[in-house]
Every structure is written in structure tokens, then in C-alpha cells.
Amino acid sequence: MDSSKGINVDMRVRIGALELRNPVMTASGTFASGKEYADFVDLSRLGAVVTKGVSMKPWAGNASPRIAETASGMLNSIGLQNPGVEAFCAKDLPWLATQDVPVIVNVSGHSLAEYVAVAERLDSESAVDALEVNISCPNVDEGGMAFGTDCTSAADVTRAVRAVTSKTLIVKLSPNVTDVTEIARAVEAEGADAVSLINTLLGMAIDTDTWKPKLARSVGGLSGPAIKPVAVRMVWQVASAVSIPVVGMGGIMNAEDAVEFMLAGATAVAVGTANFVDPGATMRVVDGLEQYCRLRGLDRVSAMTGAVSR
């Protein structure tokens, strides 16, 4: 930081036991394990890498087409395709361990037992700094979102994972619910160290030429700028309902969007769809956040968290 440019900004934020050098994470599923972005992103300048969802056994994911573009957004129905936790530990983790960046592994499951098994398997991996338990994937038939749309099952998954992991535990919430604060409180009560939100909104698009859904799976998850107002609202609601940190995401394209989420109550943010638009998007958000703080005379980024006036 060049002092001639003004004050030094303390960019650090804390999520559970984890101190991040800045609040900018990658959103799960949009950054793989980071290797693909290494030509565009200096991983050591990220707050954290959040990996693609990892399950116990390999998952093939859904049929194609798996994406569709929509106004200011996109639908995806990837369906958590992944090679399973063993392959992840064998291939991705060793590489990530060399990258000087906190690693948050996104944990998927078809069943409560699978969530627990993945969490347990990862607990012994020193390269893993935190788990983000995805109870909000709209793209799998069993499990996924079903766990995140009901307080009891959300609490059950959190409790069970909490019991087997000593790592920082983040639970990722679904926006496809009547009252997101209720779910947030339920997972907080079971020992989640933080919540992250939002996962994608369940959506659909139909091809008016072929009269078929644009996604082979019919429905998928909506992400991108289109959903930002819904995401900001939910972060704002949840931040005042729980006392654990909130990781905000949904449509963040630039630093100003990240500021909006922090003002709404997010301690950290994640950049998802924007990585597809600009593979270096995370770097621009990091730099832009720091620049914003400097221009506003803020000496720490965390001063923005929840600072929106009521």
C-alpha cells in the first residue's frame, strides 16, 4: 500500500477461527479449485478459495445443456459433478496447499450421512481451513436444497457435521425459502460459525423454437446481477437475525457490489458468475474495495459491515 495514496486500509476479516487477508472469496462452483484461474488471478491475494462442491462418491452431474443465459444472469444445472472427496484430496488439495490462500471446501451430500462422511474425511486434511456445507443446491434430486429449505433438516445437517469437524463451519443457505432468517437461526443454534448466502434461485427458461426447457434438467439455479437485489435483502435480514458472520454473494460483479453486500451486513463476500465474465474479477474486487475504503477514509474494511442506515 502506497502511503502517498492515503491511509492504509486493514483489509482483514474474520470468519470463525479463520482470519482472511481480505473479504473476497470465490463462490463455490464458479472457480473449480482455482487452478484454471491461475493465469488470471494471484490466488494469494484472495481472501479464500471456496472449492466446487465435493461429495463422498464421484457424481456425474446432470445431462446437457446445463446452462442458459437469461437477462442479466444465467441458469445452471451442473448438478455438483465432481470426482469425489478422495480424488479431491489426492489431486486438488496438494496443489491448493502450495498456494498461500485459505481453502474452504464446499461440502455436498445426497444424504445426511454423506455430508458427515465428507466432513469427516476432510477433518484430517491440514490444507483445509474451513468447510462450507451446501444445503442449498437446487440441482440435485435428493439432498441439496431439500436440506436447506426446512429448519429441522438444516439443523440436523449442521449438528451432524459440527460433531465431526473441528474446522470453521460455514453453512450455505438457500434463497428459495419463505423465511431465510429462520433457517439461519437454526443453523447458528447448532454451532455453525458462519452462514453464506445466497445460493442460486430456482429458475427455468423455455426455448420458444423447440418448446423444450433450455436446461436438460428443466429447472436450474439463477445467478448473476439479476439476483443481486434478492441477495442483498437476504443478507440484510440474516445479518440482523444472527450474531455469526455472514458471507454475502449473488451477482457481485465489481467492488461497488461488494460494498453493497458489506453494508447490508456481510463480513466477507464471494464472487461467482462474474468469474465467467472476467476471469480476473476477484482481483478487481479486492483492489476496488481497498480503493473504496481509502477514498472514504476508512482504515478497515470491516467498518462497512452492517453499516447501512436504517
Binding site: G29, T30, R66, S72, D209, T210, K212, A216, G224, F276
Partner: protein, 272 residues
């Protein structure tokens, strides 16, 4: 023969439109000044172009490199939807950014002496540079090209300049043989005895050519199109089912060993 290897490093390059002209109804030729990508791109690779800088449509659009001329990339594109309509509006001097070169292009195995290139419609787009490299390497090139009508036989310039033989088929018979390009392939496999077949075009056509090549025991490579979000291997939106499991068209393809492709319903639905 030794050709330069595909580069490992992907570049994000801010490029300038040098020309953007209509080639025929609904097809344009975009010429971009892109020195860094032009230097390293290999035949069959593509770039991922950011057409809009607003939020109206957020995804990039993938386009093959048709040819390279010094530091200029030539892209042949068909106007289909939101993105390509906006692309057709770009004027000389405007800037865009692209990521490239991406993907795994055509492979030229050692010992190839005679290649058959099969292009259906815009399938000619990723084949210009291939024809040039093959002929520069002394490989005899035959091109079998199909299109709805004579006008749509795009990329003719480079094929005429490089191929030993160019055969065409049009749906309406306005040029070459009336009918499908696959009929040409059937006879060229016999008459020209190629060592290798390269194919790009609508998937039903590519599938037939794959079968024809297999029946003739000629190795075949196919370039496939899939919907792509990231273009760099991270999002898994572009998977192609192969005998070795699901592969990403953007990094493991777009060119695949045709025999390994399991033809399913993951192709992009054609537009009216």
C-alpha cells in the same frame, strides 16, 4: 512433422476491431488486432469474446479462429442471437476483450500424408488455419464442404488456396452436388483414401461422418460446440460424454477423437 505445441498459458487480451464485414446473409468476418493471441494460437483453438460490457447478457461467446494473419485474428461468425447480433454491430476501432487461445485444437499425427476436411455450414470456421498448416506441412488436403446454398459456402478463400481438391454440396444444388456433404464424404473416402478425417458442422452430420470414417477405418477428429460459461475448464457447463467419461469441451476439446464421443442429446438445439 513438428508443429509448435499449444501454449499452456491463457491470455486476457484487449483487442481492437480492424474490420467487421458481412460475408453473406447472416455471416460476418471479424478481424481483430490481437498480437499476443495471434502469436500462439493453434488450429482449432478458440477465443472467448466479451461482446457486451453491460449486464444485459453476461456471458462471453466462444469463437474459433478461422485464420491468423500476422497479429490479426480472423473470425467467421454466424448471426444467431443476442450476442452475435451485437457483434455484428461492432465497428472498426471499437475495443473488446477476449480470453485465448483456448482449448485443445486439431491434432496432426505424424505420418499423415492426405487429410480430408469435412465442413458443414459454419463448421468451416475452425478449419481455415488447419488447411493452411496441413498444406504448409506438405499434407495433401481435400475439402468436402456443405451448406444450404452456394452463398453459405463460407471460408472458400482459404480452402481454394490450400486444398488440392475442394468438393461442395448444397441443399438446393446452387453449387456442387445437390444434397448432403455426407454423400461427398462417402465417395471421397474411397476415391481419395485420406489418412485422416477432420470434421466440424452440425452434430447429426458430424456423427454420420464419424461413422463413415470408422467404417473406412480412417481416424477422425471432430470439433464440437457446447454452451460455455467460463471457457477455461472451471464451470463444467460444456461437458461432452466420451468413452472416458465426461470431458470439458473448452479444455479437453473442442476437438475430440471422434470415436471416443458418445453421441447423446447434449448438443445445442439448432435455431430457426
Amino acid at each position: 512433422m513438428t508443429l509448435p505445441a499449444e501454449t499452456e498459458r491463457k491470455l486476457l487480451e484487449r483487442v481492437t476491431v480492424l474490420a467487421n464485414d458481412r460475408v453473406t446473409e447472416g455471416v460476418g468476418l471479424l478481424v481483430l488486432e490481437s498480437p499476443r493471441v495471434a502469436r500462439v494460437v493453434r488450429p482449432g483453438q478458440f477465443v472467448h469474446l466479451r461482446i457486451s460490457t453491460g449486464t444485459d447478457f453476461v456471458l462471453r461467446r466462444p469463437f474459433s479462429i478461422h485464420r491468423v494473419e500476422e497479429d490479426r485474428l480472423h473470425i467467421l461468425y454466424q448471426v444467431l442471437g443476442t450476442g452475435t447480433r451485437a457483434l455484428a454491430e461492432k465497428r472498426r476501432g471499437e475495443e473488446m476483450d477476449l480470453i485465448g487461445p483456448l482449448g485443445h485444437g486439431w491434432h496432426i499425427p505424424d505420418g499423415v500424408a492426405h487429410a480430408l476436411l469435412v465442413a458443414g455450414g459454419l463448421g468451416a470456421a475452425p478449419m481455415g488455419m488447419l488447411a493452411e498448416e496441413l498444406s504448409a506441412a506438405g499434407v495433401a488436403v481435400t475439402v468436402a464442404q456443405g451448406a444450404p446454398c452456394a452463398d453459405r459456402l463460407v471460408g472458400r478463400g482459404v480452402f481454394d488456396a490450400t486444398a488440392r481438391r475442394v468438393e461442395t454440396a448444397t441443399d438446393d444444388g446452387s453449387e456442387g452436388q445437390r444434397g448432403f456433404v455426407t454423400a461427398l464424404v462417402e465417395s471421397l473416402l474411397v476415391s481419395d483414401r485420406p489418412d485422416i478425417v477432420y470434421v466440424c458442422g452440425p452434430e447429426p452430420m458430424a456423427r454420420i461422418v464419424t461413422a463413415q470414417a470408422a467404417a473406412a477405418s480412417v481416424p477422425c477428429q471432430v470439433s464440437l460446440e457446447r454452451l460455455m460459461a467460463c471457457g477455461i475448464g472451471a464451470c463444467l457447463s460444456c461437458v461432452v460424454t466420451t468413452r472416458d467419461g465426461q470431458r470439458r469441451a473448452c479444455v479437453d476439446g473442442p476437438v475430440f477423437d471422434a470415436e471416443s464421443v458418445v453421441w447423446d442429446t447434449s448438443e445445442i438445439p439448432p435455431k430457426h
